[in-house]
């Protein structure tokens, strides 16, 4: 009999837990959802420090490495074209110089953005001056927009500008080699 009682009690506890716990979680979630920006700015700062910053840092390192890698490989190629007075050397050189400058701009703009995001993430007592927090957030967004535009600019230099010139060069060289082989 005691065994049956203890089993019933266990079952009752499990059923109660199944009913009560989701209600508690929902209630807690509702409380968090109703928080104002003043109450949530700490959460934002924590997100910026622990999630956004490492993500940005990784993207910055990977992009810079990639741009340098592509630049170095293209540089060797363009030097060969220049040394041998081959077509499209001048155009490719111009684009390569643009790529170099755009990469520098990207690096500098990222530093500005990083600084703005850090100032936002480390601002003290954000809940006491939410206007100041919003102002810093706007600065960080503006700086990030610049970095985004730098990335788009570099992407545009690489493709279609450089890829188109390489395609043109390929067509020209194929024609030249065919003509030379026929004559």
């Amino acid at each position: 009999m005691a065994d049956v009682k203890s089993r019933l009690l266990t079952l009752l506890i499990i059923i109660s837990a199944l009913v009560v716990v989701p209600q508690l979680v929902r209630a807690q979630s509702a409380v968090v959802d109703q928080q104002t920006p003043e109450q949530r700015c700490g959460l934002t700062q924590s997100y910026l420090k622990t999630v956004q910053r490492p993500r940005d840092l990784r993207a910055r390192v990977d992009r810079l490495q990639a741009y340098r890698y592509i630049y170095q490989r293209l540089e060797v190629f363009v030097v060969r074209l220049e040394k041998n007075d081959q077509p499209n050397a001048q155009k490719l050189r111009t684009n390569l110089d643009d790529l170099d400058r755009a990469t520098d701009t990207f690096r500098n703009d990222y530093e500005q953005y990083d600084l703005a995001r850090e100032q936002l993430a480390t601002m003290k007592d954000c809940h006491k001056s939410i206007e100041e927090f919003q102002r810093k957030l706007q600065v960080a967004r503006t700086q990030r927009q610049k970095v985004y535009e730098d990335v788009a600019r570099i992407q545009n230099i690489l493709s279609p500008e450089i890829t188109t010139q390489l395609d043109e060069l390929n067509t020209t060289l194929m024609t030249t080699e065919k003509t030379r082989a026929n004559s």
Binding site: T44, Q65, Y69, F77, L137, Y148, E177
Partner: protein
Amino acid sequence: MSSEPLPESNTKPSIFTKLKLNRLSLPGALVCVIIMAGCIVAVGYFLYLQNPNKKYDLARPGQKDNLSLHVEDDEADTTGPVTAAATKQKIEYLNKELSALNSISRFEPEDLNDQNIQLVPADQPSL
């Protein structure tokens, strides 16, 4: 209560006795284990370095280059005229490098919108 003779196997010297390991102290045994573990790690790292798929691994802190971008070797010929074949290869390499770039974040402005940075609650999914 007659005392039985010990089994024969118990009287034989064990492998530990033969190798004189029964005299090994605890620190000595730990050193042996650490050395063996070091050997395993060294062999594992050697195999990793030899693996051609290593370049698809994530770059580690302190490494100079993004390994996923190593799609072309250093050109052997750095002075001779460029041929159509070399140009075609360069186009292929550049396309691969561009595709590797596409997998990296572009610093989209939306990443800092109010919902993403948790300044306002995320929209609840509609049921």
